[in-house]
Subunit: 261 residues, 3 copies
Amino acid sequence: MLTQIRAEKPIIHCLTNHVVSNFQANGLLSLGASPIMGEAPEEAADLAALAGAVSLNIGTLNETTVTSMLIAGKAANKKGVPVILDPVGAGATPYRLSTVKRILEEVEVSVLRCNAGELAAIMGADWQSKGVDAGAGEADITQLARSSAKKLSVIVAVTGKTDVVTDGDTVIENASGDPIMTSVTGMGCLLSAVVAAFSAVSPDRPLAAAAEALRFYGLAGEKAAQHVKGPGSFQTAFLDALSSVRQSDIDELNRMEDGAL
Amino acid sequence: MLTQIRAEKPIIHCLTNHVVSNFQANGLLSLGASPIMGEAPEEAADLAALAGAVSLNIGTLNETTVTSMLIAGKAANKKGVPVILDPVGAGATPYRLSTVKRILEEVEVSVLRCNAGELAAIMGADWQSKGVDAGAGEADITQLARSSAKKLSVIVAVTGKTDVVTDGDTVIENASGDPIMTSVTGMGCLLSAVVAAFSAVSPDRPLAAAAEALRFYGLAGEKAAQHVKGPGSFQTAFLDALSSVRQSDIDELNRMEDGAL
Amino acid sequence: MLTQIRAEKPIIHCLTNHVVSNFQANGLLSLGASPIMGEAPEEAADLAALAGAVSLNIGTLNETTVTSMLIAGKAANKKGVPVILDPVGAGATPYRLSTVKRILEEVEVSVLRCNAGELAAIMGADWQSKGVDAGAGEADITQLARSSAKKLSVIVAVTGKTDVVTDGDTVIENASGDPIMTSVTGMGCLLSAVVAAFSAVSPDRPLAAAAEALRFYGLAGEKAAQHVKGPGSFQTAFLDALSSVRQSDIDELNRMEDGAL
């Protein structure tokens, strides 16, 4: 799929938070996709209709951007364009949680990309979360992901030390990545946009697209983590790595894992 | 003009999109100018009146920022402060196109800095554009730029593989630059702010200011492109290069070209 | 305090401008704190209640974010959570100045972190400021800081070539840092958030927290300034340094200075 992204350069419409918007756009460009950012209600449907996938992110949500996310999501649904949702900090405030639930009700979401704490908050599961971090809880993440995927009729991609991607039945795990990835803001947000890019070139295979995106992303993290001196130089090296990891690197990892993608 | 910017540190008031605001402010600081960012209608006129030039950018426009751009533009006009307009993705949505046209009608714009696809959209010319990219069309860019400059009474600076700057009569070309410049988000947006900085120290010579800004910018891109490993390290090296390219580097390029600036 | 931040990872709720939000979040993460960004009025009180400290920054203020800052500030006050205010460009426009005064009236601010020009504007002192830069004026900065701290009942931390931190009586000076720190946008904004992180682990010692934050920050700047090639590579190196400066580095500097923290 990576080869296809670099050949087709799909447009990814991002309605995202202002903390990560630069990093997200640069990450998509490095990968080979074409980001278009914009969140005015006046143009949300037009931008979504141009796109190969739509990436929704509630990181610094407000009344206007929530309106635009709903408009863009519905416009994407009408055209069969995949919608990826990142419920940043869903458990942190009632406003975030109710917004996420509203989006999930009104928009047909293809992939829900989140961490365990966010998923637990959305499902009302018991979980100790702190701010926008993943937190640590007792729930069995794989079980939670499977039941969520079935109940919400979405692909769930929960990232953490080991990522879990599932449509409710099939479960794909991914352990690629490096711990330093948690020390840069927006790494999860950018990942969701990368899942959108993979979904854009494989709209009929959302499970495989999400899993392949996660493997690719972890490989880029591992590559960037070599020789860096801290979070600043990692961020730079990671943007470089997004442009230099090859399809064959992913293929090799797939062979080592289940090869099922 | 570069020497003058570094000596006078002109204030550049940027009303810009949140994707590139950090990169734009850092780029202006590296160059030697003093960015001031702010887009509340309550202070738009006050900030514009403080500035040596005003840089308008519609990348993530909304109702409020459009109001502020009109206020700032008119306040700048009253004081004879140059206004540079970057019509990001003008052809992508009707909202963007109508906003650009409204700004061009209500504000006296000094330099319109854009790519070929955006210019074609504004002029209603036939052009195949995709999202915010330049696209590829049949129109003769130089001819389009000249006729646009005359019709709109602005300096037109269309950037691409070869940049074209014109007041409708005189045409200056620039080929400095490096292909990797297209793999970082906001490179065009920052360029528009750099044109604003050059315009601030040469308000009576907008054509020369725009052309010299483009040559400077391309030289910085060439310098940064040496030894980089990808888009991430290029971005870092480019900010460094904006502070290290010298007036004599531009002078040498001018001598090699037409020397007419 | 640095050791404590890295152990406890306090949540810092930032209501900040979109120019620096990414840099501020990444700086806090590098330091070891947990940033949470968000400025909708609907969740401002909830986020502030989660936090160990609240960082208010008016860099790209608008009607909505000012409302949220007041809500978050008051919610923090109710829970005894320290509030740090960064009055970016307070003297640049009447809108900024009146907003800063309103926040100082309605919210109990723990630390006012600013430059000399901003402090002079707030206090109505004679000072020549230009845009958001510090400017140069005739007032005696230490005297101005002391009288401001008494009048406003806050800790005042004025940064410049030599930083001055005071509660109105005790004055602590800090000369750590490097001139290149002024060539990156948001260095002051991030510093204010770092003061918030130190305050979060020492809520009862705001003077010492502010002073220790400034010394730490200057040390990180000195460390990063070694071997860099310009503002771009400095920014990267600075984020690295925020994660690598140790408590013992600060202790050593404290011993060389007054040792009074």
